[in-house]
């Protein structure tokens, strides 16, 4: 059998195992081991499983991931998310759909402390949805805005997804994180406009709230959000100013979040312990998949399948735009079934050589890929952010209602993707400014 055929059988076997409820990490690693055994023998199988996985986890760049997770966990457990939401609410609730707008921008704010979309959606879901429902907001809008704005967690730095992309694509992680800032803010802005527009034209979505907020209250609530600029400085600022690498920024962020928790007088042994334990569990979960994915990547490379696909693409004279459209479509379709990290790690081995051959800027590609994967988070049937929101609201809102509410945000995302494609500078400007300075 030609090695390439073995590669294709491997991909098929992987999909079957996934459908049969085998954990993603096991399916990836298991198929890879069988493939390595078939292609290179028993010794290669055992040897790669052992030496590649050890080499993978002993990585300086990847150590940013547990640290970013820890920073988000401490921030949440110390009540930072609640403070941001309170402030956004006091400032923005006067707008049409004000609570939803506030939720959206509070998510963008908390995204600067959290490295993951799911964590951001979970944090905001617990805080904001009950409030919106109480104010008579339509359930579909209330839950969808949390699911959608939660995706900012992977775009606005810190971002676990961008760290992983950087490692697999051999791109500087610091620059990638900087590249996520403007696309993240732009997305938040588009969401904001969308919410205001919809609520302006359809008053039934979000009844105006009878809440007289004084300017005094508005100014005084800012006293609660001082930690946020501090965290942004600690992570984004030190990377931008060239003071620290991504991993160092992550460690500084952790220490800053502990200081913040202490400053808010919310630091306890319990907060620390819970944050640490939650963080290592998430880390273990991520790395178990990622180790499987590196083995699978190795297996595919040895089968030669990615090269065959790349040659096919080159021979068929695919234009860069076509490639981007195809990639986008594949991500959105696969996003229906796969979780974001699995999707990222599964597709990179195939897509990276294609993107490279097409001459794309690989930092910009990182942003596009993360954007595609975020879209997968809010589309049915597997839309993890919708599930997270469903988990926080319980029986109050049907899953279908959430997905219906997300249709509008899906449309907004498509608009954002087109703009990011047409104007790569939105992503590339900050990293370029930074290395110039």
């Amino acid at each position: 059998m030609a090695p390439e055929t073995v590669g294709m059988i491997g991909v098929a076997a992987l999909l079957v195992l996934l459908a049969l409820r085998v954990p993603i990490g096991v399916a990836l690693g298991g198929v890879a081991m069988c493939g390595l055994y078939y292609l290179r023998g028993f010794g290669a199988m055992l040897g790669s499983a052992q030496s590649m996985s050890f080499a993978f986890v002993t990585s300086w760049e990847l150590s940013a991931i547990p640290l970013f997770i820890l920073m988000g966990a401490i921030s949440f457990n110390a009540g930072l998310a609640a403070s941001i939401y309170r402030a956004a609410r006091l400032w923005l609730s006067g707008l049409p759909g004000g609570l939803a707008v506030a939720t959206n921008f509070a998510s963008a704010g908390f995204a600067a402390a959290s490295g993951s979309s799911l964590a951001t959606a979970a944090a905001m879901g617990r805080l904001a949805i009950p409030e919106m429902l109480k104010a008579g907001y339509q359930p579909g809008l209330s839950s969808a805005v949390v699911a959608a704005s939660g995706t900012l967690g992977s775009m606005i730095p810190p971002s676990i997804m961008l760290v992983l992309y950087g490692l697999f694509a051999q791109q500087p992680v610091g620059q990638l994180l900087l590249a996520g800032i403007l696309p993240g803010l732009f997305t938040a802005l588009v969401y904001g406009v969308l919410i205001i527009g919809r609520c302006y034209f359809d008053k039934s979505l979000a009844p105006p709230i009878d809440e007289s907020v004084t300017w005094r209250q508005r100014w005084s609530v800012l006293g609660e959000v001082w930690p946020l600029p501090l965290l942004i400085m600690a992570v984004v600022g030190v990377i931008y100013a060239g003071i620290a690498t991504a991993t160092e920024a992550a460690a500084i962020g952790c220490i800053a979040s502990v200081i913040i928790a202490a400053g808010m007088q919310r630091l306890s042994f319990r907060v620390l312990r819970d944050s640490l334990v939650e963080s290592v569990r998430s880390t273990g979960m991520i790395f178990f998949i990622a180790v499987g994915a590196t083995l699978f990547t190795r297996f595919l490379a040895l089968s030669g399948l990615p090269f065959m696909v790349a040659d096919l693409a080159a021979d068929s004279g695919t234009s860069p735009l076509m490639l981007m459209l195809t990639a986008g479509a594949i991500y959105i379709v696969l996003g229906m079934f796969l979780d974001p990290l699995g999707l990222l790690l599964l597709t990179l081995p195939i897509f990276l050589p294609l993107f490279q051959d097409a001459g794309f800027d690989m930092i910009w590609i990182g942003i596009m890929v993360v954007k595609f994967i975020e879209i997968g988070l809010i589309t049915p049937p597997l839309g993890l952010n919708a599930f997270v929101v469903k988990g926080t609201v319980g029986d109050l809102v049907e899953l279908n209602t959430i997905f219906k509410g997300l249709t509008w945000f899906f449309a907004a995302e498509i608009f954002v993707v087109v703009v990011l494609y047409a104007f790569p500078q939105i992503a590339l400007w900050l990293p370029q400014m930074s290395s110039a300075g």
Partner: protein, 345 residues
């Protein structure tokens, strides 16, 4: 047809691939009438710097780029010879001397390779290292307190200059330097081009300071090697000498191109001046002792003899290379006559 998979952790565009390995593969393929084919898996797609040797041993790949200093516990003797880097100023001579040393004059190296399950065939050396900085330097005194990216033998040299040695992967050097993690790098001039350092480096001390010479670039899983026919093995050996010279020339050309471009771009070339050269020479005086002591610590037998043998070979090869005066055929013949005619592969 036989297919050989080669695993390399450096980028596809690296000189060692384009100037040395790919022409070598092509020559072997052609001479075997297309019966022997190669697949190069570069950029660490299958094996990385720390596990290439294990990958070859367990059969994940058949051949690969092995850099001994990453795995001193597997190849202690050879890694120690490599600590003599500061004495090597001629790319081709260093590569040939290392190949001759391991294949003919170092039984202890051979037994380490045997235990590792891999058969080494040829080594290359990088072009000479220079001290290249982003922050201003002028003389020896200005190096005090600088952070310098370095490795192996250069760590001690950096410390001797009063600087702090910093260990970084070569691929991380660009980012670390542009972010001020390090002020300088002790690295081959070719890195200006291949790792993009040309964008950041503003000062270069105009004095070569040794070169890294222990990269095993032609080798094979021993079982696989022994299963080949005599004719097949002969093809691998016959083209090895030319590959060594090709990689060396490629490195030298890259270095020259990089330095010329640096001159044009207005990089400041610092005359080392007497304090710096004296300090360097003083350090070299003690270097033999340091390496012998390190060898002792790593359990290498008869370390004095090891150091002397290698330095002898290096000076012999330096003379041969100088006499050849850039004639490739002469060098290939010399390598074949002195090394491969006698080696038991």
């Amino acid at each position: 047809a036989e297919r050989f998979v080669y695993g390399s952790y450096v980028p596809r565009s690296h000189t060692f691939h384009t100037a040395g390995l790919e022409p070598y593969f092509e020559a072997v393929r052609k001479d075997s009438d297309g019966e022997m084919r190669f697949r190069l898996l570069s950029d660490g797609t299958v094996v990385d710097a720390s596990n290439t040797l294990t990958g070859i041993r367990n059969g994940t790949v058949d051949m690969g780029l092995i850099v001994d200093v990453y795995i001193p516990s597997t190849l202690p003797t050879e890694a120690t010879i490599n600590e003599l880097a500061l004495f090597a100023d001629n790319t081709t001579a260093a590569a040939a001397a290392m190949t001759e040393m391991v294949l003919l004059h170092c039984p202890q190296c051979q037994s380490e390779w045997k235990k590792a399950g891999v058969t080494p065939i040829a080594f290359y050396s990088t072009s000479p290292y220079y001290l290249m900085c982003k922050t201003p330097i002028s003389d020896l005194a200005s190096l005090k307190g600088k952070r310098i990216k370095s490795a192996t033998a250069w760590n001690g040299l950096a410390a001797h200059f009063g600087a702090t040695p910093v260990s970084l992967a070569t691929s991380e050097t660009y980012e670390a330097m542009s972010r001020g993690q390090v002020d300088c790098a002790l690295a081959g001039a070719a890195y200006l081009k291949s790792y993009g350092l040309a964008d950041i480096v503003k000062y270069i001390v105009d004095m070569p300071m040794g070169s890294y010479m222990g990269a095993t670039f032609i080798d094979m899983n021993t079982e696989r090697w022994q299963a080949l026919t005599d004719d097949q093995r002969k093809l691998f050996i016959d083209h090895a000498a030319e590959a060594i010279v090709n990689v060396s020339n490629g490195y030298d050309a890259d270095a020259e191109e990089s330095l010329t471009k640096a001159h044009k771009d207005g990089v400041k070339f610092i005359e080392p001046g007497a304090p710096l050269t004296d300090s360097y020479d003083a350090y070299l005086e003690k270097e033999r002792k340091r390496v012998a002591a390190l060898a002792e610590k790593r359990g290498v037998k008869d370390p004095e003899n090891l150091v002397t043998t290698y330095l002898d070979l290096l000076s012999q090869w330096t003379k041969i290379v100088e006499d050849a005066d850039g004639d490739k055929a002469t060098l290939v013949e010399a390598i074949n006559k002195r090394i491969y005619a006698k080696a038991d592969l």
